[in-house]
Symmetry: none
Subunit: 414 residues, 2 copies
């Protein structure tokens, strides 16, 4: 069953707001296994709105519109859909009374133009809106469904969950669609696709899809089946086959994050963590403490940006700074050792490098970064050669450091 999403509003066309409604609805529809082939944004213009709706109505069983249900003459979604479907708009006294009651509760005056919001296309079901004045509308027509939802996310989202989702579940009939995402780091998109090419090509239920974002990859396995247990039985062998190929590059599933997974490993081992950062300037600490509950295992961090701070605060020797430089394997190692000692933590991660755009040299170009980890499992130091802008180099340095710590604690290094 195909669904289309149409967002109505000139503020979207001008880029004044971002279309998060489309994202919310797309996710919800994907979780129901409904195929969404198009999102469209159209402005507050009756002619273009009607044409956009009719095109969607021809090619999809369900069309969901958001926005344009307000009280002003700019709000044209009701009129547009009613005229496209050839249904007259009728004033409905009970709907008007609900709008009046809402405005009385919020102690607002009741402008006459709000009466427009009580106009209902013939045969439409009114979806109540406890959070605003604009009611939603659902129109069934020859086995198809048009849904009109208000634009503000805090009104639209609960209306979808409470009233539209049940309608869609009815239309779908039984059966479920289940997805599992494997989260991957340390391998490139094309390399991953090459490794899984035969699996991706031969699988149709479940399907396998790859997504890249922010230096990480996701492998999404999606199965259709009678019930959840049956869907899980379809997913399991495919997940096993993928895991056999890329092993520990998979750091987690679904909504797990890399810092969250490291936190879990630290907690299980009863370890306290410290960080020592130069070029990342606090980003590593920030990533790790962005996890709620990280105070259980995060002890402290040292942002030693200057050479002096590295010596004074972490006890890096002057000889290392002078002979090998602040960006060196030896300095990273000394920072990790110093952080572990100064904080009393069990594990320390240190990063030093050149994030650019200045500070590079032929021997140590921008993007040269050293990560050192000191832990009861052993010590390691790794040289990275990263590319990109300052912020990308910093972000990759921090992520790589977290991943190396994860692998070290898992006993997967050396």
């Amino acid at each position: 069953m195909n669904v289309e999403i149409i967002a109505v509003g000139t503020e979207l066309l001008l880029g004044q707001i971002v279309n998060t409604n489309a994202q919310f609805l797309a996710r919800e529809l994907a979780s129901l296994g409904m195929g969404v082939y198009y999102h469209t944004v159209v402005g507050d213009n009756l002619n273009r709105l009607v044409n956009t709706f009719l095109q969607a109505w021809q090619r999809s069983e369900v069309v969901i519109l958001t926005g344009g249900l307000g009280p002003t003459t700019d709000d044209l979604t009701r009129e547009g859909v009613a005229s496209a479907l050839g249904r007259p708009l009728c004033f409905q006294e009970d709907v008007w009374q609900q709008i009046v009651a809402h405005m009385q509760r919020t102690k607002r005056p009741i402008p006459e133009n709000n009466r427009r919001q009580a106009m209902v296309p013939e045969g439409a079901v009114v979806l109540p809106n406890p959070r605003g004045t604009a009611p939603g509308l659902a129109i069934r027509d020859a086995g198809r469904l048009a849904v009109l939802l208000p634009g503000p996310p805090r009104e639209m989202q609960p209306m979808f969950v409470d009233h539209v989702r049940p309608l869609l579940l009815q239309m779908i009939g039984h059966g479920v669609i289940l997805s599992r995402s494997l989260r991957v780091i340390g391998i490139g998109e094309s390399a991953l696709e090459e490794q899984l090419a035969d699996l991706i090509a031969t699988q149709s239920n479940p399907t396998i899809a790859l997504y890249a974002s922010l230096g990480e990859l996701q492998i999404r396995i999606t199965a259709k089946a009678e019930d959840e247990a049956a869907a899980n039985l379809l997913i399991a062998p495919v997940e096993t086959a993928i895991r056999q190929r890329i092993k520990t590059a998979i750091y987690g599933i679904d909504n797990e994050t890399l810092p969250g997974v490291l936190g879990q490993l630290l907690k299980e081992r009863g370890y306290q963590l410290a960080v020592a950062e130069s070029c990342t300037g606090g980003l590593l600490g920030s990533m790790i403490t962005d996890v709620s509950g990280s105070s259980d295992y995060f002890a402290s961090g040292f942002i030693t940006y200057s050479n002096e701070a590295k010596q004074k605060i972490l006890g890096v020797s002057e000889a290392i700074i002078k002979e090998q430089g602040a960006v060196s394997a030896a300095c990273a190692k000394a920072m990790a050792t110093g952080a572990r000692q100064k904080s009393g933590a069990d594990v320390a991660i240190a990063i030093t490098g050149i994030a650019g755009p200045t500070g590079g040299s032929p021997e140590k170009p921008v993007g040269t970064v050293y990560v050192a980890i000191s832990a009861p499992e052993g010590d390691l130091v790794e040289e990275l050669a990263l590319r990109g802008e300052r912020s990308a180099i910093r972000a990759r340095s921090a992520k790589t450091a977290v991943n190396l710590a994860r692998l070290l604690l898992l006993g997967e290094l050396k």
Copy 2:
């Protein structure tokens, strides 16, 4: 002149990412005075992509596509547009060499399937991509223009500004459109709109528009004129009028950032800065050191997450922790003083608070944050009551701290 924006990618249709590219392009096009009547999202499907492009091509002079330029067989934008326009795709050796050079710099292996990215539709201009492997493409055809841009915002945005904007300005003909953005912090969007309502309503050249993002606001003044000097003459009096009303809430212009502006103030005064962070866990240091050249004034930072670390590393007294708690004005003050002493810096900023979702109490609910600053200009401590999720509370705490330091150094506090 009409423009349409088409974003290509199944990850958008599934709601895995939000279409911020459409917002960026819509704003840029609005600032050029170009009308955008439709945004569309279509998946990685050749047939639907071709049809969507052809529809846009019939009704708009310029069609901008984002995404689908990657190396995998899912990436179909090149093929789709080339086939819609009846132009054969040719492998271009010089483009391939640039891709190879980029991957060699980033020390990645060079998968064979990246060769797809060197396929260029006949007659297309190749737009260089220093930040990734996918070059952009611009195709002129009978007075119209199709532009293909990569999907990742950090590659797409500079490519638009550097290469596409000039092409569009050429198409628009003579005259220039000039914008100046005033960057604002510490005032809400509706309050700002109220303060500027009469100016916004009466101005037509230049126009005034407000944008909110990430806890900050931008006031964008846009003028059309014969040349740059004339446009500047139109902008200047409006800028002055706005500055008279909201004064130091304007921290900078155009691409200036709040940490960059603070850095400039520190540099002018020859000050070294230290930070001491609890709930922000390194985010403040990360924000400040995200500025290139921050090593000139950023000395060091202390992430003292545990009470023990606050005492041991920063010398916060046990009495303060026991009697007033780690989340208190006294603790923030002691952290700032301790950081200044331990680092030898001239200025220290300290943050301690409850970022949530757990750890709140009736007296100190989630979002209670104390910021303390110690500087030659004097000391201050401020209590914030923030709302939102953990990451939003952390981000606002860090931004507010930077802004308070800016105002203190400017002599605008007390």
